[in-house]
Symmetry: C2
């Protein structure tokens, strides 16, 4: 009897010991769809790193299989796929969901809007995340920052843009709100998929092409057929990357796995901007020194006109959009104003002083 009791005790303890890890180690096998071609540096490889980090931190309890653009759903349908449950997770730019909700634009890039550092401030500490949750709630989707390209470039032009009059009739490949802005200045906006851009620029089918920033643009080879590389990238002063997750699936995770997901996205956000910055510098030096590329600043009258047109596009969104988008826009614009005040004398004021003529070791 005593012996039986002992074994009973053991088995009870064993049952508990087995049961606790069994619950704790409930495993999830999820799919992540992305908008990026397989092996695309930083963006797609970053998704693979994100999935691996989540798997590592969860000791394999949350396994994520990453599908690049087109493998499971077309590149522009990641938001939809997560919304309808075809995938638990997705990574892309928020403005791809512009057709579903205009509010999405504010979580990726706005012409003459916030920089990456300002976006992080707004999303994490200025009420941005809460509004993001609210905007995506009707679609059963939540999203987190998981990277940023930082400032982008204005694009590649076959001919020099000397003044505002050169914009009229310019055939320019530029999507989204940036395209709306350029149209207001009389440009003819052309939409072409990435694979056709080089040929169109080479043949003169387009006069100019906007893509990303030096490191990514280099890989596209535009510098071989157009030598004028314009800055600043008024259309995308930053481009945030979002990690979307099905709200229901996310809520079904144990709390510790939820934290592992959010923490892993934050790490990706920290690393991606640093990687883009790091890669852009040397590539830019190479483009100028080795490839004969001319870095061209948009003329002042063009910039002022672009700024004015950007303001008009923004105003039209505010006036015509749904209530949620207006609420998001108001919060975004308030943050932009406050943060710009600081950037102006902070990072920007400093960076301008650093360019004054004085001797400094190289």
């Amino acid at each position: 009897m005593k012996r039986r009791h002992f074994f009973q005790g053991m088995t009870a303890a064993a049952a508990t010991a087995v049961a606790a890890p069994a619950i704790a180690q409930q495993r999830f096998e999820w799919r992540m769809v992305t908008a990026y071609p397989k092996n695309l540096p930083i963006l797609q490889t970053g998704c693979e790193q994100l999935a691996a980090r989540i798997s590592d931190l969860s000791a394999g309890r949350l396994q994520i299989k990453v599908y690049s653009a087109g493998e499971l759903v077309p590149p522009l349908q990641c938001f939809d796929a997560v919304s309808r449950g075809a995938a638990e997770m997705g990574v892309d730019s928020a403005y791809y969901a512009y057709g579903k909700t205009k509010a999405s634009a504010f979580f990726s890039a706005i012409p003459f809007g916030m920089t990456a550092q300002e976006m992080n401030a707004w999303i994490y500490f200025g009420g941005g995340q809460e509004l993001w949750d609210e905007a995506y709630a009707p679609f059963g989707v939540r999203a987190f920052l998981c990277g940023n390209s930082g400032a982008q470039m204005g694009g590649w032009c076959r001919k020099e843009i000397k003044s505002l009059s050169d914009i009229k009739g310019l055939k320019y490949r530029i999507p989204g709100m940036g395209g709306q802005v350029l149209e207001k200045l009389g440009a003819t906006v052309v939409l072409l998929p990435g694979g056709e851009l080089f040929g169109a620029l080479q043949s003169g089918a387009v006069d100019g092409v906007e893509w990303v920033s030096p490191y990514v643009d280099y890989g596209m080879g535009f510098f071989r057929v157009a030598k004028n590389y314009y800055w600043p990238g008024f259309q995308e002063p930053c481009s945030a990357v979002q990690m979307m997750v099905s709200s229901a699936k996310f809520e079904s995770l144990p709390k510790d796995l939820q934290q592992i997901v959010t923490v892993s996205c934050s790490v990706q956000n920290d690393l991606m901007l640093a990687e883009f910055s790091s890669r852009n510098g040397p590539v830019l030096e190479n483009l100028v020194r080795e490839q004969g590329v001319k870095l061209q600043q948009f003329p002042r009258d063009v910039l002022v006109a672009l700024g004015t047109a950007s303001g008009e596009v923004m105003q039209e969104i505010i006036e015509t959009a749904d209530a949620t988008t207006r609420k998001v826009a108001q919060s975004y614009l308030k943050a932009r104003r406050e943060l710009l005040t600081w950037t102006q004398i902070g990072e920007q004021g400093y960076a301008n002083a650093r360019l004054l003529p004085f001797k400094y070791p190289k």
Copy 2:
């Protein structure tokens, strides 16, 4: 016999089930010393968040008790404490270890050096982390980025600085390399602990005080006794926060706990810069609109002289320092040059265009 076998099997399985978590769940109770007063917003509260995050992600396997400045060791002796094993972890600014190794300065702030975004690029992707490991190896310490203040301000002055001649004889509280730079311009550098700064500025014992940036400076009340708030913060274009850990202790952790530590630091790095940026904007508006503070840019001749003097201080370090410091300096200067090339037309070029006169919704 059969029954006995069954129980044997059960107990063997139970033993395995118990043993595996027991190994996986080896617990560590560590101490983290910091350079910050208890409850100091962002900096000290960030250390508490960091410790909590590590505990959460490790399911309590790595517990860290945080000691604020002076609780276990004096605020400037965190590096030493981690090096000699008085604490497993420490958080402060790398340049507090300047007396141990001059290389440390390059991992926190350099007059007219890199911004926060550039520092992240260098540390994560430009070879900075490897050099950091090398520089601290003789002390048995490793360090990771775990935050950044972003750009700082030049400080508070009782009187206006109209030209370079106003710097001569100016009694200015400014520590470290920034102080060396100002001395070259004829200022009298004063070192005072934080608690004495307000009184010294109020009484005129000092003409000016350099501290941090708007949010933190606001809490010190300097605006009540000095109305000229100078920018840019040439002395600290960013100020990185480091999380130090005893190399031996770190190596003794299971690999998954090592990853939890590094990941948690990266999250802190992502969040802190965003929080500083977010807090600085509204405070700056308040200082100007409600408190009568005048935002003053250092005059151009002063900035050029500060830049030149900063270059000289840097050159002296390179020429007189040990081999490791020189190696670190060379890598830092190369990264600074490359990244500056990109910043100039990227974030900075964009931010300058954003200030042109055009209408934009507020």
